[in-house]
Symmetry: C2
C-alpha cells in the first residue's frame, strides 16, 4: 500500500510492544508524520495537528513535497497556522493506511498483512501514538494541539491521558463522544463495505478491492459531511448536460449525483477498506465520559489547558455544534479560558476544509493571541 | 409478488392504453386501493390518501382486513380522519408492488414481468392513476386529498392536473419539488441496489433477491427519515446486552445499530427492488415549477383549492419544513385559505407516522372545520 504514502513522510517508531487500550499490543509499530517550520530553541512553539478519518499527514505543501495538502490554505507562511512562527507537526493516525501502522501493514510476527488480525484501534491508542511522536521530537509541551473531526476526539484523548502535553487546544468540528446518529451513519458505511463480496472478511487484494462498498461508504460520508443548505444553492435541480447522459438504467442525471460520483472516484482504491473499518469503529467507541462516571462535562473538566477554542459549523449534522459547545463548556469547567464559536458556514461538517473565510480567522486569531 | 398485497385490496382498472408522462403507455393496468366509511348520497364526503414510497393501500384496519394499517392511529371511527363522517380512499401508487401495476407486474404484451421494460414512472402518472380511482368511485369532487411524503408530491400533481378534483388539501411532510440533498440520498439508495450483483439489471427472482442492496437502501432511508435529536434521547450510547453480542467482525454493538437492523429485516423481501428504483427516481424528477417557468410558487398558485394545510416536523432533513411552508404560501397565492404548521416533533420525516399527539390534532382539527 506504499502508493498511499506522501513523499514528505517521516516516521516515528513506537515503543515495542505498544499496548492497545482494548487488548493486544503492536510490535515494531510506527507513526507517519510531516512537519513545517522550525522548532525554536526553547522548544515551545510546536503545534500538533491530529486529523479526521481519511487524511494523511500531508496537511500542506513543503520542500519535500510541493503538492498541495488537505489543509493547504490553513497552514503555511503567513497563513492562519503561520509556519513562520510555529513548528507544525501533523500525524497520520495509528490504524490508517497512509504510512502509520495499521491493518494494511505487515505483521512482523507472521510476515503477512495484519488485515483483521490487527488489534482493535481506539481513539486513545491514536492519541498515545501521537504523543510518542511529540516526545520523540523533543517537545515536552506543545503550544497547541489542533484536532478536526475524528481528530477532535483524538486531541481530547491526548489531553486527558497526557496531562500537561499542551498549553492550548483548538477543537474543530469534533466531539467528546459519539452520538447515535453518527454511529448509525458509520455503521451503515461499514456494512456497505462488509456486504461487498470482495471484502471477504478483509482478505481482498488489488484485483479484488471492495470497490462497491467503498463507493457507497464514501458517498454516504460526503452526504453527511456537507449540508442541504449548501447544495440547494450550489446544485439546485441542475441536470447534467444531456437529459440522459448516463446510459445505465437509473444512472447519473443531476449535478449533485455527478458531484458524489467525483468524490467516490477520488477516494476509492486510495484508502484501505480494513483501515476504514477500524478507524470508523474507533469513533463509535469514543466516549470521554467513561472516565467520569458517564458525565461528559466532568470528564472534560479533568483536562488542564490554559486556553481552548471549540468551533464548528451550525450546519454540521454529523458532529453538531452542540458537541463543540459542550467541549468548550467542559474545558472551561477545568479552568481553561475557553470559547465556543458556532460558524454560519453552509458546508456542514466539511466546512473547516473549505470555508477558509470563516475558519481561517477563527483559528488564526486564537493562535496569534497565544 | 402476490404476498405483498393486503387482503382488503380492491382494484380499479385504468383506461387502456394509459399514457405515461415520460413516454410509453400501459395496457390493462390497474390501481390497488382500500376504502373505509361510507360515501354519502351527495358524494361529497370523500377523502383521498396518497402515500409515501413504500406503504400499501392498507392505511388502517377494516372489516375485510383487521390487521393494523400503516396509519392505524390516524384513521378510523372517532379518529383524526374520522371514518364515521368521511369516506376514505387510500390508493397504492402506480409503479408500486403492493397491488398496483408496476415493474413487478406481468406485461400483457409478453406474458413476462415488466422489470426494467416498465416505462418511466413520474409523480404525475401516479396522480393520474389516483384520479381514475376517484372518478371510478363516482366521486366528482373530493372533500380533501391528503398526501404524505412522496404522496405530498402526488397530491400537488393531482390538484394541478385535475382542477376542481378536491375542495381541500393537507400536505404532510411533502414538497413541490425535489432538492439536491434528498436527490443525493435517493441516488445512493438506488446505487446500493444497482451495485448488488443480485440485482442483475432487474433480472432477479426470489432466490437471487438483491438483499444487500435493499438492506443498505432501507437503513439509509431510516437514518434520513428520523432525527439525531430523537436518537440522542432514545438510544444515546446504550449498547446491546453483551459487550460483543455479534460475533461478526464490526457487527452490531449499539442499540441504534440493532434498531436499523430491525427496520431492514422488516422491509427486505417485502418490497420489489425494481419498484423501489422506479418510485425513488420519480421523486427526483418531480418539480411542479416546470409548469410555471421554474417558479415554484407560481406553479403552486395555479392550483385551486378552498382550504389547505401544509404541515411537517422541524426535524425533517429529507423534506425540510421550509418546503411545506412554500407549499402553504404558493397555495395561498392561488386563493386558498392556507396555513403552514411546523411541528416540534423530534422524529423527523417519519413523525407523521408516529407522533400522533402532534399530527393527529393538526389533521383532525383541519378536517373538523371543513
Amino acid at each position: 500500500m506504499t502508493e498511499f504514502i506522501p513523499p514528505g513522510t517521516r516516521w516515528a517508531a513506537l515503543p515495542s510492544p505498544f499496548p492497545m487500550k482494548r487488548g493486544g499490543a503492536l510490535q515494531d509499530a510506527r507513526v507517519a508524520y510531516e512537519t513545517w517550520g522550525r522548532l525554536d530553541e526553547a522548544r515551545d512553539n510546536a503545534i500538533l495537528i491530529v486529523t479526521g478519518l481519511s487524511p494523511d499527514a500531508h496537511a500542506a505543501s513543503s520542500a519535500e513535497d510541493p503538492t498541495p495538502g488537505w489543509w493547504q490554505e490553513m497552514l503555511g507562511p503567513g497563513k492562519p497556522i503561520d509556519t513562520d512562527r510555529w513548528f507544525v507537526v501533523c500525524v497520520n493516525s495509528l490504524g490508517s493506511c497512509k504510512g502509520s501502522t495499521g491493518p494494511a501493514s505487515v505483521d512482523p510476527a507472521t510476515g503477512e498483512l495484519y488485515r483483521l488480525r490487527f488489534p482493535d484501534v481506539s481513539i486513545e491508542d491514536i492519541a498515545d501514538a501521537a504523543a510518542h511522536v511529540v516526545r520523540g521530537l523533543g517537545i515536552a509541551r506543545l503550544a497547541c494541539v489542533i484536532g478536526n473531526s475524528m481528530g477532535g476526539m483524538t486531541a481530547l484523548a491526548l489531553l486527558h491521558r497526557h496531562p500537561g502535553i499542551s498549553r492550548a487546544h483548538i477543537n474543530i468540528s469534533g466531539s467528546a463522544r459519539a452520538l447515535p446518529f453518527s454511529i448509525a451513519v458509520r455503521s451503515l458505511q461499514r456494512e456497505a463495505i462488509r456486504l461487498d463480496p470482495n471484502w471477504n472478511e478483509g482478505r481482498y487484494d488489488e484485483s479484488t478491492y471492495p470497490e462497491s462498498g467503498m463507493r457507497i461508504a464514501r458517498k454516504l460520508g460526503v452526504i453527511t459531511y456537507r449540508s442541504a443548505l449548501e447544495w440547494d444553492g450550489r446544485f439546485g435541480r441542475v441536470r447534467l448536460e444531456s437529459d440522459r447522459p448516463d446510459e445505465e438504467p437509473f444512472g447519473l442525471e443531476f449535478q449533485v449525483e455527478s458531484y458524489l460520483e467525483g468524490h467516490a472516484r477520488r477516494f476509492v482504491r486510495r484508502f484501505d477498506p480494513n483501515s476504514y473499518l477500524y478507524l470508523s469503529r474507533s469513533m463509535d467507541w469514543f466516549d470521554l465520559a467513561e472516565y467520569a462516571d458517564d458525565d461528559v462535562l466532568a470528564a472534560l473538566a479533568q483536562i488542564r489547558v490554559e486556553r481552548a477554542l471549540a468551533i464548528g459549523a451550525r450546519t454540521d449534522i454529523l458532529f453538531p455544534v452542540e458537541q463543540q459547545e459542550e467541549v468548550a463548556e467542559g474545558l472551561a469547567r477545568g479552568g481553561a479560558q475557553s470559547r465556543f464559536v458556532g460558524l454560519e458556514s453552509p458546508q456542514g461538517h466539511d466546512a473547516f476544509l473549505v470555508d477558509m473565510a470563516r475558519f481561517g480567522p477563527a483559528v488564526g486569531g486564537f493562535l496569534e493571541a497565544l
